[in-house]
Amino acid sequence: MTVAQGAGRQIGDVILKVDNISLRFGGVKALTDISFDVREHEIRAIIGPNGAGKSSMLNVINGVYTPQEGTITFHGEVRKDMDTHQAAENGIARTFQNIALFTGMTVLDNIMTGRNLKIKSTFIEQAFWFGRARREEIENRKKVEEIIDFLQLQSVRKTPVSRLPYGIKKRVELARALAAEPTMLLLDEPMAGMNVEEKQDMCRFVLDTNDQFGTTIVLIEHDMGVVMDISDRVVVLDYGKKIGDGTPDEVRSNPDVIKAYLGAH
């Protein structure tokens, strides 16, 4: 067993399954016939060289891109194309490769946006700050404060995100995704561009999230050390094709993967 951590969690059944996904932009093939599955509570990594189609894969999973072929099965429901909004309602949250925070808002407001699906009051009730609107605002604020505590963002709570350093921004984005209390979290290079300490922090947060909330995590990462340490299973993509799938140890010894990474022919 490579899964050293996660003593408290039980990897469950398959909750997400993609089958024979192909995605093209005009003549460019971004993904060709990709199939893999993700089990409940596991940490699933997608790795591969630049341009391998990793981000495209995440974009297909939560409906930003529509694949030309293949199906996505989430919680037993088979779809040709995931709708972005449905994905969010079904508990899929994500972060982006190039931080996609709402730059004009404070940290608190950014994280509060993650709770938007929990808010049922109409804008008219909100205009009067009355009854349900006020109650929801306070309740959700409490939940957001828990996440702020969890990710140690207390000191920047009311800072506009545009003033924050890079590493903290990444953490705020994670907080915003967590605020939705997702069942599945898609992380697009959560540790890219970070120094060692920041990476360690981020690793810890990802593992804690997985451990405490039982969130299933699909992550793209370039740092092989990190991937091999924290993930349960790894998918390897190269030029839009799947070339490997399995535990970190299996993937490490897969000759195709070695070839792709070392560039040997």
Partner: protein, 303 residues
């Protein structure tokens, strides 16, 4: 359809097309600036007004002939172009396009105020020595009524477009300009003086505004309504694509022709005055079908 109705149709169409030439001329100024610096210059109409008023004002106040007033006007417009680049746009480099757009709205007000402060708000006449009478040869042969003035104006526009094409394609500054239009950063790395090129573009746009201003002004009088030409250029650009010179010309002709035809043939049924919004509706309907315009480059958004 009887022959008289057909002749009338041809006359309306011709008048519309010739107005369209004017629109194209104004739109051309927009396209150059947009292509080179990504600025949607709302002030182009104000520049047309400013140029015409300056020439008319100089020739009225100092009693000099247009042979002197026009060259002064050219110099003034070139200086104005460089000044705008230096004072307004350089500090706003890399800002969001909407910010730049709003800055040019501010510029519009400033230029309009300046023009009238310098030369007064009275309507001035501008006589280029071309008579606004029907073109006799054509009316004798075909019965289609076309103003001689409009035809000459169209000829001047054609010459100007040709001259601009030469400038862009055959000269060194033209090459620099095309490089800048393609990619600012890359142009900068190969040593093209970005700000100088932008200054030149604004100066050329100023010159185009002057030509448009002289033609419009001598036809309808130099008055504040010249600035409204800019509002017509907007649908022209949507139709033609923001970055395309041929698009501006074709778009101008289409808008000019259709708005005249609409006014004449649809207008009476709805109370007239539809020229104000008809081009917009046409352009917007077109936009829904083909967002990049007739000749514009396809816009690809990435996340």
């Amino acid at each position: 359809m009887d022959i008289e109705a057909l002749k009338y149709f041809a006359t309306v169409l011709a008048a519309g097309l010739l107005t369209g030439v004017m629109y194209a001329l104004v739109a051309l100024g927009f396209v150059m600036i947009y292509k080179a610096s990504g600025v949607f210059n709302f002030a182009q109409g104000a520049m047309v007004f400013f140029a015409a008023l300056t020439v008319a004002g100089i020739s009225d106040k100092f009693g000099v002939s247009l042979w002197i007033a026009v060259p002064i006007g050219v110099v003034v417009m070139i200086v104005l172009g460089f000044l705008i680049e230096r004072i307004v746009l350089r500090p706003l480099v890399n800002q969001h396009e909407i910010t730049l757009f709003m800055a040019t709205i501010g510029l519009t007000f400033f230029i309009e105020g300046l023009a009238q402060l310098l030369w007064g708000s009275t309507v001035r006449t501008l006589d280029l020595g071309i008579q606004d009478v029907p073109f006799k040869w054509l009316i004798d042969r075909t019965g289609i009524l076309i103003s001689q003035f409009d035809l000459i104006a169209a000829g001047i526009c054609g010459l100007l477009v040709a001259a601009l094409a030469l400038l862009f394609n055959k000269t060194k500054i033209g090459r620099a300009l095309r490089a800048v239009a393609d990619d600012h950063q890359a142009a900068l790395t190969v040593g093209i003086p970005l700000h100088y090129v932008w200054g030149v573009v604004w100066a050329v746009a100023g010159f185009v505004a002057l030509v448009a201003g002289l033609l419009w002004g001598s036809r309808n009088g130099v008055q504040f309504s010249l600035t409204f030409v800019a509002l017509k250029a907007l649908p022209v650009l949507i139709l033609g694509g923001f970055t395309s010179v041929p698009g501006a010309i074709v778009g101008g002709l289409i808008i000019g022709a259709t708005e005249k035809l609409a006014e004449v043939y649809i207008g009476p049924f709805v109370g007239g005055g539809i020229e104000g919004w008809f081009p917009y509706v046409l352009a917007l309907l077109f936009l829904l079908v083909r967002p990049e315009g007739l000749f514009g480059e396809k816009i690809i958004r990435r996340i």
